[in-house]
Symmetry: C2
Subunit: 593 residues, 2 copies
């Protein structure tokens, strides 16, 4: 069974047999995070769509896929001829899969989904939308396992220690802090389903996922004990013994529902319904009092500690050196040898690999030329990708996992001489980038209050980008990490000192080119006045910004000063690690505007 059409036909047969009128497939796994192992890449296997977020709905007459604006163009391309329709919602007026379901379910019908990979939150939204419609929902409906031949197994990798020189805090201290917070929330138990939360808490890392150094696991934190649900073979003896000493008990990964249900009986359990599957929720909520909130590790780990902040500064130098060497190599060799999007990505990873404590890429490198750069999350097809021609825009969005932090940085450079429009676009984005980087704001400010400042110059010229301006960044964990964001969405999280967030305004001209400028910014405390404590950002990413794309006359004095100061810092920190030739090249790239 190879084609999407054949798979769809098999699914429809299964639907008929089970009496299901409408089947929902989310792009998630039992941990409901962003990065999911091949074993759970159902939508990719089924439809050919490779984006990281989507929902598929199948009825006897309809098969469609919903995704977010990052993937609109890609979805249209990849679904062509698959038998699955791409359902494109409006930019702001959403028409999501819930709307479709609500409009298309039949009275008395049955909707099916696999409750192991469907979040409690989404399930409730679904229930609410179906209220009064006399529709039943079967949450034990796995129609995939029986028809997916050759399905990849769950990943296996060994755990390794993330020692205190990197983590900044012993695991026992972190555990105490979590228990203290649990006390404040009157929680006897805290259920952790997000695997980065668990890695952070236990100071371990692994290689179960391609881009995040994590191990598939669940954890239940109690007052005395922690139950860690994980394939036992993944924990080396030394680690297991260290765990044992502080009351961490290892239990089989797939017994989470059963064990949690009995252990928590009669107690209060704190969990986050956004990342807890409806199946797990059902087993927990049966006999215990539930407290719903974002997880405690999610809050604690978003505030980087002093050791982490120090390591991040070092990692940024390594990452900046790799990028600088890459762009120098590109500028020296473009035109002399054949280059494709994928060969460039490989080259960049090669430079990063030369850095100490580098663990791998933090996401699939985006090297996109011309019209491909207009796809915000473009990843070249397997093989070579497009050849880098003589003229155009080259966007490189990449990041690394290091023991001392996670990076995420985007630069857009011209190949040949840029057009006036390209320079105008680049300069407007740069203005937005700089103005967010320079922003000063009172303690208590939420990310959505800061988003405008990165868009203002663009909006003034009738331009915009359909994604957020900034996401939180993990520390040797996921490159996209909550709870904060800088975006138009109504995320109530306050931007606090110690939070690391991206700053990535952009523009996408469909069919022409895209431009994005991304650095990571770290929030810190600025002055305190009679009006309260004020905050600022420190830009921690270190790589020159292409001056040949800047229209200097469109920048004001403060913006020019920011750029010159940034470039001087980049040169000072990066140049000691370069060859003589590279140094001369970077000197010119970072000369004052």
């Amino acid at each position: 069974m190879n084609s999407s059409a054949e798979k769809l036909a098999s699914l429809r047969t299964a639907l008929l047999q089970k009496g299901i009128n409408l089947y929902i497939i989310p792009s998630s796994d039992p941990h409901l995070g962003e990065y999911i192992p091949d074993h759970w890449q159902i939508i990719n296997w089924l439809t050919g769509f490779t984006g990281s977020a989507a929902t598929v709905i199948i009825t006897d007459t309809f098969a469609g896929l919903w995704t977010d604006s990052r993937y609109f163009i890609q979805a249209e391309k990849q679904l062509f001829g698959s038998g699955f329709e791409f359902v494109k919602p409006g930019l702001f007026q959403r028409y999501d899969f819930m709307d479709f379901i609500s409009e298309n379910v039949e009275t008395g019908g049955k909707t099916g989904l696999d409750g192991r990979i469907f979040s409690t939150d989404n399930f409730r939204r679904l229930q609410k939308r179906l209220e009064g419609k006399m529709v039943s929902i079967d949450t034990h409906c796995d129609l995939i396992t029986s028809i997916w031949t050759g399905r990849p197994p769950l990943p296996f990798s060994l755990a390794f220690d993330h020692p205190v020189e990197f983590s900044g805090k012993e695991r026992s201290v972190k555990i105490s802090e979590v228990r203290e917070q649990m006390g404040k929330q009157n929680a006897d138990y805290h259920l952790l389903t997000s695997i980065d939360d668990i890695m952070w808490l236990l100071n371990i890392r692994g290689n179960d996922l391609k881009y995040s150094p994590l191990l598939l696991s669940f954890a239940l934190v109690g007052a005395e004990q922690i139950l860690l649900f994980i394939d036992e073979a993944k924990i080396p003896i030394k680690l297991a013994s260290a765990f044992d000493k502080i009351g961490i008990t290892i239990l089989p990964y797939d017994e989470i529902s059963e064990i949690v249900s009995s252990v928590t009986e009669g107690h209060s359990v704190l969990f986050n319904p956004q990342v807890t599957s409806v199946e797990l929720f059902n087993s927990v909520s049966k006999n215990s009092r539930t407290i719903e909130d974002i997880s405690i590790p999610a809050r604690l780990k978003s505030i980087k500690n002093k050791t982490e902040i120090g390591n991040i500064a070092n990692v940024m130098i390594k990452d900046g050196v790799a990028l600088t060497k890459f762009f120098h190599w590109f500028s020296s060799n473009h035109g002399r040898e054949s280059m494709t999007e994928n060969s460039l990505s490989d080259k960049l990873i090669e430079f990063r690999s030369q850095q100490k404590d580098f663990l791998g890429s933090s996401f699939a490198t985006i090297t996109a030329f011309n019209e491909n750069s207009a796809l915000p999350h473009y990843i070249p097809e397997e093989g070579s990708g497009v050849v880098i021609g003589e003229r155009g825009m080259l966007l490189v969005d990449s990041g690394g996992q290091y023991m001392g932090g996670t990076t995420d940085i985007t630069r857009t450079i011209p190949v040949g001489i840029p057009s006036t429009q390209q320079k105008m676009d680049f300069t407007l984005i740069l203005k937005g980038h700089i103005n967010l980087a320079m922003a000063k704001f009172p303690n208590g400010t939420r990310g959505y209050q800061l988003d405008f400042i990165a868009r203002r110059a663009m909006w003034g010229s009738g331009m915009n980008y359909a994604h957020g301006t900034g996401h939180g960044v993990g520390y040797c964990l996921n490159v996209h990490e909550g709870p904060q964001s800088i975006s138009p969405a109504d995320n109530k999280t306050v931007i606090e000192a110690g939070m690391l967030t991206s700053n990535e305004p952009a523009i996408y001209r469909e069919g022409e080119y895209g431009i994005r400028i991304e650095n990571l910014i770290l929030c810190y405390e600025d002055e305190e006045t009679e009006f309260g404590q004020f905050m600022r950002f420190d830009t921690v990413s270190l790589c020159y910004i292409e001056k040949s794309l800047i229209d200097k006359s469109s920048l004001d004095q403060k913006e020019i000063e920011w750029l010159n100061k940034y470039h001087s810092e980049v040169y000072d920190k990066i140049s000691p690690h370069l060859t003589g030739e590279e140094k001369i090249w970077l000197k010119e790239k970072t000369e004052p505007l």
Copy 2:
């Protein structure tokens, strides 16, 4: 019984008799809006606090009042010696009365409140906070009526027509539009509890409240009929007959709960739980299916129609003429005759009264000198208020109700020579004001995305104000009107073309002075580009902004151009209605910077 202490003692006796451990008094009436008649001014009567929003909690050992940041300084003053404690929460970390209740209720205890004036939403929040605490809530607990001697009766005034030349739409057309929307939401009935919604829908006005031309009423809109619950004597015969012809039936005001409960039985009812009392909710929800949402008139009336927009433009000229004459009079007579805050307020109302179709002030005029202007919603005590001295800052925030619209405008002027700090503060606020006025943004933008731009300059200097930047404004209705706002709060309402909103950044230096610059801004459609439809604001308020308070070197070229253009428009539109002397004076006030 005169003192707050005596009233508190009586209340505590009543609590004891009823077995209530904790009694909650909200500052609301059965319509749960902002403006409430004297009959329902329980907190004012009880504590002496005159602010418009508060909650009082009484136990046998505690009596305290919560209010919002607008009234912090005022509450501290007015509650001094009253026996009621002012509970001041943090600016951003709230400690609200729910927190207090949640921490202080006793297991097995009984909390009491008057369900006629407690919103369904707040009641649910309360229930949620008390979950698992074994506390019962008595919602039929009116302890006030029996101890309030000489309580003012409910207000009485006659309804008058708000004809189509002002409303822009016949009432029958509005009713059809509301019914069309009800159809889309599958609502058989729509319960309206906000009296401005009802006035808008029926094109009537009245004088039940001091500052809003409204009549106490409820309405239930059905597919064929509208039940209007109102004191029948308030509706003149001609209007009653017009109502009768289009299926509007008048019923007694206080029979709402009973009649609605029986009429809606077995049907679906749309209502807004934020403005529906828990008592009314209980009677509606007993036998019908409920649909909860903001009311349809609330959404429709926020988008001003073409007739309304035309009338607003005319009203702004009248209002601007009154203000100009007032400030001219002040500048000519200050120093010659004695002036107090209250005599100035009276003078300003006198000038407004000379304008055609003026119905009254849209809120209590704030004329505040020096340290009083640091109280965002200061209203002088009965009597004269502070004498306007030789030097200082004078803040005047006032507005009018006209048949063709509602105004709200603030100007701050110097008395004598302003200090450098006053000029710096004023200029930073002006920058914020101008930058919001000039903002361009894509369709779909929410108010919270725009708030920063009004604060940016201030934040950069470590300054801030603890209230929102802009509120929606009614049309010959409430001066504060939803659903939109421009503020840090996560209000999801999109700023749409036709919405009228205030633009009022400010600064308050406690004990010194306050500065606020407020105009009303009307949203309209700007250009459409490949990135979508863009929007802008048109500043519609017309009154000069004091140039002697501006430090020109701190404004950039665009800001100066905006101000000069605004001043030229002010002169062109206002001067034809002035005397020769006033004209010369305004010419100078509006000369280019």
